[in-house]
């Protein structure tokens, strides 16, 4: 990096909304975006006229393949009455809407626009698992696809390298899943708002009612160790290590610092943004971290003049359980090889000193890929403004939160830092 990064002028988030994430057989993705947009409008404290929006940046990844439509910018712009304002689609695989957010920040910081809508949308559930796997492979490294790697396979391979280097094992992955579900249980927008214990008890109840033999699981880990309950997908990734296939939409409203008081007295300022790119498995320097995340973090912390320990809560891209462990280390929250221990010690729980994925994360909340990046920011918005309801973290003077988004198998990574002031 030559010199320090800076923004031309301040940018603040003054509204945030999302649809419920899940599998919606009877809804097209554009109507999910309408839901997210309407919720966003309702969160702007002093109200706003949508006609004041200067431009739309929209993240989407797979709709070309799954819906056979790629030109989503103007479709969404028309849906919410923004035409003829410019609409631009961004593509960064599962980080598509984090890139939309960044473009929106740059557009305002440059002085060109004052009010920008950024968001993402994705429709995945109307395809079968094989088609979805094939569609997502559009973001994979071709050498890896050639020798049979799948998305869970790449993360599984990184997990085996991590296990060998640091002495972790499958039990540590299960801690991530159990925590995600405990948080997601409290999120009404989550695809799975149940804990692992709830799922386990439901299974036992079902077996009783059907007169089947009753499974002898004593706790969540015994349930997750049972291959009938939690089959292998790509060793050591099992079903409950993997995020689901989801539909959903999310969006946030960005405005220039000078006009923020017209919208709210309680804005979140964009203090740090960072983005990096990474290589395939064969070319990585090390198989136990994501260089793109480390670069994005360096850029974002530098801009914000903050350190990892200043981040009070974070949403991180837990597409697979091992990913959450690695991100905690790459973002500097814990030292390399210490992430799995921090989770085991409960440090990242809702009531811990560093709550991670209070929304339930991708695992529980769902992962409509293009909607995930701004969806994570919706959670940070709620938490920093004290509006997260049952899952509000009990940290006093909660001001600084971050969201980490990852595209592909680490090809694109971003970090966004928001501050309430």
């Amino acid at each position: 990096m030559r010199g320090r990064r800076k923004l031309g002028r301040g940018v603040a988030m003054v509204g945030a909304g999302m649809s419920k994430f899940g599998m919606f057989i009877d809804k097209d993705s554009k109507y999910l975006f309408a839901e997210a947009f309407n919720e966003m409008l309702s969160t702007v404290d002093k109200g706003m006229d949508p006609k004041d929006i200067d431009a739309l940046y929209l993240g989407n990844f797979t709709n070309d393949f799954f819906v056979h439509q790629g030109h989503w910018g103007p479709i969404i712009s028309d849906l919410i009455g923004l035409t003829p304002k410019p609409a631009t689609r961004t593509e960064g695989a599962c980080a598509a809407s984090a890139l939309a957010f960044r473009e929106g920040v740059f557009a305002i910081a440059s002085g060109f626009y004052d009010v920008v809508l950024v968001g993402g949308v994705e429709e995945m559930s109307k395809r079968n698992t094989e088609e979805v796997t094939q569609g997502l492979a559009m973001a994979a490294i071709p050498y890896e696809v050639r020798v049979g790697f799948t998305f869970p396979g790449v993360f599984g391979a990184m997990a085996t390298a991590y296990f060998a280097k640091y002495g972790a094992n499958r039990q540590h992955l299960m801690n991530v899943t159990i925590k995600s579900h405990n948080n997601g249980r409290l999120n009404p927008k989550a695809q799975f708002n149940v804990s692992i214990r709830d799922i386990m008890n439901q299974r036992i109840e079902k077996a009783k009612n059907k007169g089947d033999s009753i499974p002898a699981w004593r706790d969540e880990k015994e349930f997750l160790c049972d291959p009938r309950a939690n089959p292998m997908v790509a060793w050591p990734m099992h079903l409950y290590d993997c995020c689901p296939i989801s539909d959903g939409a999310s969006c946030v409203l960005l405005v220039a610092e000078e006009i923020v008081k017209d919208f709210t007295d309680n804005p979140l300022y964009v203090v740090g943004i960072g983005q990096g790119s990474g290589k395939g498995l064969h070319a990585k320097e090390d198989l136990t971290y994501f260089e793109a995340t480390r670069y994005a973090a360096q850029e974002a912390y530098g801009l914000a003049e903050l350190k990892p320990e200043d981040i009070q809560i974070a949403e991180v891209h837990d597409c697979f359980s091992i990913a959450e462990i690695i991100h905690l280390e790459d973002l500097g929250f814990f030292r390399p090889g210490e992430g799995y221990k921090a989770i085991e010690d409960g440090l990242t729980r809702l009531d811990g000193p560093k709550p991670i994925n209070t929304s339930g994360g991708l695992k529980c909340k769902g992962h409509p890929v293009g909607a995930t990046g701004t969806g994570q920011l919706v959670e940070i918005w709620k938490q920093l403004r004290g509006e997260a309801g049952e899952r509000q973290v009990p940290i006093k003077d909660l001001r600084i939160g971050a969201a980490h988004n990852l595209g592909g198998t680490g090809g694109t990574c971003t970090l966004t830092i928001l501050e309430r002031r």
Partner: protein
């Protein structure tokens, strides 16, 4: 051999001839497998082909139960998973490959660091012939 362009098509063609080939930067000596046309260390563009010995060790692996259509066509499924991995070659670079000859029913017994030997898997016939890079314990 010298005349072939440093790209993935040449790499694949070499595999079908049972050769694992990389490109070496004539300026700084950096080695790349699969080959690169631009040296990412010194930005040199003069490359030469170099054949790997085909020996290495397992750096990472996964055992895949739900694979893409071309693997299920080979008969792999939830009951018959296959192994893909990252192999660190003696020459110091890594490649991704299929891993044969390990017990895919007991992935917890597969050890990182296992010494491996290259193997070329030929599938299909005529114009549809594809060669997959693979390794098995040596």
């Amino acid at each position: 051999m010298e005349g072939r362009p440093f790209n993935d098509i040449s790499y694949e063609r070499f595999l079908s001839e049972e050769k694992l080939m990389g490109s070496r930067c004539q300026n700084c000596g950096a080695l790349f497998v699969p080959p690169r046309t631009i040296c990412i260390k010194c930005y040199g563009i003069e490359m030469e082909w170099i054949e790997m010995k085909g020996k290495g060790k397992l750096a990472a692996f996964t055992c895949i139960a739900i694979g893409p259509p071309f693997m299920t066509k080979e008969g792999y499924d939830r009951k018959h998973p296959y192994v893909s991995g990252v192999v660190e070659l003696e020459e110091g670079v890594r490649v991704v490959a299929r891993i044969e000859g390990v017990d895919e029913s007991k992935p917890e017994t597969i050890k990182i660091g296992t010494p491996l030997q290259v193997e070329f898997l030929h599938r299909g016939e005529g114009e549809n012939l594809i060669t997959f890079l693979a390794f098995r314990p040596s």
